[in-house]
Structure formats: C-alpha cells, structure tokens
Amino acid sequence: MTRRTWLFEPEGVVPYDAANDAMHDLARRRLDDVIPDAAILLQHPPVFTAGRRAKPEHLVWSEDEATAHGAEVHHIDRGGSFTFHGPGQLVGYPILHLGGRPDAARYLRSLEAAVIRTGAELGVQLHRRGDVQTGVFAGEDKVCAIGVRLMRTRVTLHGFAINCDTDLSWFDGIVACGLPDNGVTSLSRLLDRDVTVEEVRPIVRHALAAELDLAFEEAPADELALLRSPLVA
C-alpha cells in the first residue's frame, strides 16, 4: 500500500536542534496517527552528532576544537557512534510508521537500497556492507551514513546522510561511525565532478518513493514552519 507522505524540503541549512525537534514532534504525532508519514530532506550547518554507542576516543578533535572549527557537537538519541553533517551533504529523515509488526532491519535495507539506487542513477556502483555496518559504501569507503532510532518500536527517527560535495576534511574530526579503518568519500569524489545536493535531491526523492512505496505531497504550510528556523524553539 502506497504511503501518503508529507515532504519537507526546507531551503538553506537547518540547525541541528531545529530539525531534531521537528522530527520528534512529527514522530509523536505520527505515533498518534494524527498525521501521515513524513520525510525531511535538508542540509545542516557543520555539526558532529554522537549516538549512544559513541566513545570519547572516536572524537579526534576535542569538543572545543570542533567548536573552534565552527561545528556544534550534539549528543543524540540514535544508535551508532559519531557522524558529521554539514553543507554539501543531503540528509534525510523519514518519519514512517512501520506498522503492527515493525521490521527495522527491513526498513534499514530499504534505506540502503534507495541510496544504492541513487548512486546507480548517477553512475556509481554502491553497496551495503551488512557484515560491517549499516550504511552505503563505495569499495571500503562510506558515502552514506545511516542511523535510525524507533519511537515505541514503530515510528522511525533519524535517517541517512549522503555526501554529495561535502568537504571531507570535516571527517578528520572524528573516527566516522567508530570504524577507524574505513574512509569516507563523497559522490563528487567518486564521480570526479561536482555533484551537488540539488542534483542528488530529486534522485533520492524518487528512490525513496520507489523503495519505501511512498507517495510524496508537499507538507502543509503551517507544518513547513516547523523547520523554518529560528522559529522553532
């Protein structure tokens, strides 16, 4: 059954807190079944986020150093270790109700499949490395981080982050996802041309719709205000 899905595509960069609050707000209402599924596609200003499995040693820079570089550090409620978000990276937060028998593993595979499909359209062969970690890789290098949390085991939170033309030197600040031996790459580096977020966005939208059977519609105007920072408290 195709899922009616509100699509949020805020312009510019959205502060992490604002997006995080909006995502949780939407998820709570999705849980109560008062809104349809939703998906947010956005870019953040530079921010390091630490999941529950983040170990201090995975942050190479100190939090002060990160701040000095112009990045915030947030400790958040998803699983996984540290990751980086910033300009040039397309971040997706699907807020989907997984139903009465939620299959989180299948949902993660669908996210991975959507990113792999996106890469294929752009001409790069990506793959999952289920034995190593959730995410999408090119060779040994991660091009898309995936980290998901569920609300009450059934509504999805957080999501994926595809490096389009991200400044990869930001990743020097962390051991990405706690995997010291894995590098990080971007679609631009893989394709040896500038692949922007705006080029990737419609492809991702299409791939998500196909893999998760979503029918996107623009979110109502008053809902869009959720993500128009700094109106979000």
């Binding site: 999941g51 529950r52 499995r53 409620d77 998803r78 699983g79 939620p102 299959d103 989180a104 593993a105 299948r106 949902y107 993660l108 289920g130 959730t134 998901v148 949390r149 569920l150 609300m151 009450r152 085991t153």
Partner: protein, 447 residues
C-alpha cells in the same frame, strides 16, 4: 501477569541490549507507555508496555545483552488479580526453550547410534529444564532473591532483616505486604516461625563472587548458562518428577539402519540416525495417551491435538531445544530432515525464537555420548521428557528360553506426577517400546 520480551525488530536482528529501564519495579505503567530502551546493532528504540499495570519484576539489568524473545520483565496488568499464585505464574509464563547442561563433547566410538553433527544429545546426567524466551532467559537468579526497590526501602526504614521474611509473591518473592506483615508482627519468635514454615521460599543472600585461588580459574557464568541453571532448578522445584524406564530390543532397527543409511544419505541428503524412529514411535504413543502431550496452565490442563516435538541439542553455548512443529504429520524422512536442519541451525545460532518455543513433549538423546541410563529434568511445561540412551549389544533371553546377543537400548521418561500417574506413564512407554520393536520402518524411509 504479562511477560515482556526482547522484541523482534526484524529477522536479522537477533539480540538487543537494555539501555535503560524507564520504570522501576513496583511502578505503574500505562498501556503503550515506554517501559525501557534497547539498543541493537542496527537501531535503538524505546519499547512500550503492551498492557496497563504495574512493573513487578525486572529480569534483565541495564547493560545486559540478550537474545530476541528473552523474558525481560513482568507486568501485572490491571486486570490481573492482585497476587497470582506462584505455580500459575510459572506455568503460564514460560514457553519452554533451551535446557540442560552441555553434553560431553566426545562421541563414544563404536556406538553407532547417531552422528554428533546431526543428532541432538544432552548430558547423560541432567538433560533438561525449561527456560522462557528464546535461547536465553532472565538471569538474576531465583526469583526469591529479587527485591523491588520499594521492598528494600521499606525494610530499611523499618529495620527488617529481609532474610527473615518469607515471600508470598510470585515465585516466593517478598512483596510490600510481606514486609508490612513483618513490621506488624515484630521481631522474635513469630517471624522466626514464619521463616521455618516457609523455608523453601525464604530469601537467600545474593551470591558472592568466588575469589581466584592458585590453580583455579574464575569466570562469570554466561547468560545462557545462568538461564539453564535457573530453569533446571525451577523445573525441579515445580514438578513432581517421577521416572520410568523400559528396555527395547532394537535389533531390527540396527540392521535396517546399517542396510539403509548410505542410500538414505544419498537420496535425502541427511544422515540416518535412530532418532527419527524414536520420534515416530513417540508421536504415536502421545496420540494414544494425549495426557502425556498436555501441560498445566494454572488450574487447567491444556491438551494440544498436534505434537510439537522438542529435541534437545547441545551446542557451544549450552543446550537448546528446537521444536519439530507438527511432528505428528511427518514421516521418518520429514523428521530426519527437520532434526538435521534444526540441529545445524542451533549450532550456528540461526534459530528463530518461535523455533524454540511451544514444544508439547521433549526427547533427549544422550546415547551417542555413551550413556546407559539417564534421568532427565523435565522441560517445563511439558509433562514428560523421554531419554534415548546408548544402544548396546548384550545377551538377552529370547523366544524359546534361549540366550542370544541382541542390540538393546534403555528408553526412559521423567514425568510430572502432578498431571499423570504411573499407569499412564508406563503404558505410554510400553507403547513406544512396542512401536519400536514391531514397526517396519523400511517403507517409511523413502528409499
């Protein structure tokens, strides 16, 4: 009482870690209110309570990682009566699963009864006990040791030594009412008498870790080991175990297996052991004596029409009992295939939670390891567990009062005297014996 289990978040997610309990023991919880948070290798989630009620027991502590399906806590739903009788809670809340102590690793040469890679086996001495949940279970020791924060606090406030208080809660747990009763009755002879009267349920002090001594190694018991231990003891405590043995002449089965095993392997891709014959013979006996296929649930006796046969399989973590579902509709080939599949997946940790639950009867097979006679512990809530021990060539008296050498085996059953009596148990075993001695399994092998 509602058992809360580690949820299945997808087929490939096999275990989860308790990050945080959001409610304490004794605290009320609404239906669908988050009860705890878990982390898996893929996702984290908060898990809501399926019912409104009171969180009575936390069985798995924060930071512990347990398989999907493991019982984590118990919530007394608002619809439950205030205090469930201990036996009822135990009987209704525990789907049977993994059991028993791990068997010795060596196969006895010349035994020929079966092959270690395809044939389940259990320890000769102590094959089975039930556990709740998937392949592991709560491991906070006997319930009688678990004290809610409220009880601890009350006891402290009133200066009550909890080791002198007898518990009337589920499994002998000390409840708030017990503490208040102790406060009211005061110290002295009264409470001492209560302790004496309720000795089995009395609280024992928490175990103290062993100190390493020269020449000894000390390591913590695994979750599974502890779960096995808990459920072994629970079974022994809760069942009225009796045991009956018959001797079976399996001469023709040994010959049949010798004759057919190569062709069987070639045609069906699995080794032919004696276990499928025993499963078939036992299924027939269970159908003839349905009481042996039943279980106690509270004050009721539940008798399933189908036979779901639990087979004890030893593996690296201990012992587990995968279940051949609807064994009553299978021939020997189907049973052999099911056993080979379940045993292989048990040993590679690939069993799904529902494949180790719901056995209506259990068979353990220590024979290949060289046992002669075993007295297994009942896999609750089953009524009985049948043990197939080692086949031996020995002189027996045969027709015409002659003495001849025959392949003989002892087949025995531990059974729960609460539900059946000696007559049924013995007639059941006699039926198994008769089936094994008289049935011609050749056609059943499909070769």
């Amino acid at each position: 009482m509602t058992s809360i289990q580690m949820p299945q978040l997808g087929e490939t997610i096999v275990e989860g870690t308790i990050l945080k309990w959001l409610k304490a023991e004794g605290e009320a919880v609404e239906r669908d209110e988050p009860l705890f948070e878990i982390s898996t290798d893929k996702v984290d989630t908060e898990v809501p309570s399926p019912v409104a009620g009171t969180l009575t027991t936390i069985l798995v502590a924060e930071g512990e990682t347990v398989p999907v399906g493991t019982r984590l806590a118990e919530v007394a739903s608002d619809e439950d009566s205030a205090v469930a009788p201990a036996g009822e809670a135990a009987a209704s809340s525990a789907p049977p699963t993994s059991l028993a102590s791990g068997g010795p690793s060596g196969e006895t040469p010349g035994q020929g009864a079966s092959d270690a890679s395809t044939s389940p086996a259990s320890a000769p001495a102590a094959p089975a006990a039930p556990t709740a949940g998937a392949s592991s279970a709560p491991d906070r020791g006997p319930r009688s040791q678990i004290l809610s924060p409220l009880v601890r606090k009350l006891a402290q406030e009133h200066g009550i030594d909890l080791s002198t208080v007898s518990g009337t809660g589920t499994g002998g747990r000390i409840t708030k009412a017990d503490v208040m009763a102790a406060v009211t009755s005061g110290p002295g002879p009264t409470s001492a008498a209560v302790v004496a009267a309720a000795a089995p349920a009395a609280v024992t002090p928490p175990s103290v870790g062993a100190a390493a001594v020269e020449g000894e190694t000390v390591e913590p018991m695994s979750h599974i080991r502890k779960a096995i231990a808990t459920h072994m003891v629970a079974s022994v405590n809760e069942t009225a175990r009796a045991w009956t043995m018959v001797e079976v002449n399996v001469e023709h089965l040994v010959r049949l297996r010798e004759r057919a095993k190569d062709a069987f392997l070639a045609v069906h891709g699995v080794k032919l052991t004696y276990l499928p014959f025993v499963v078939r013979a036992t299924v027939d006996a269970l159908q003839a004596f349905p009481a042996v296929n039943s279980r106690i649930a509270g004050d009721d006796v539940v008798t399933p029409r189908a036979v779901h046969m639990g087979i004890a399989v030893s593996y690296d973590a201990g012992l587990i009992v995968p279940v051949i579902r609807n064994a009553d509709v299978m021939n020997s080939v189907g049973v052999a295939r099911a056993i080979a599949d379940l045993a292989a997946r048990a040993r590679s940790h690939q069993l799904k939670p529902d494949e180790v639950q719901g056995a209506t009867f259990t068979i353990t097979n220590p024979g290949p390891y060289g046992s002669l006679i075993s007295v297994p512990i009942i896999n609750q809530p089953n009524v009985g567990i049948l043990s197939l021990d080692g086949i031996q060539r020995r002189p027996v008296v045969v027709e015409g009062d002659a003495i001849a050498v025959r392949s003989m085996v002892y087949v025995s059953m531990s059974w729960d005297h609460r539900l059946i009596d000696g007559e049924i148990a013995t007639r059941f075993l006699a039926r198994v014996k008769q089936n094994l001695e008289s049935w011609d399994f050749a056609e059943d092998l499909g070769i």
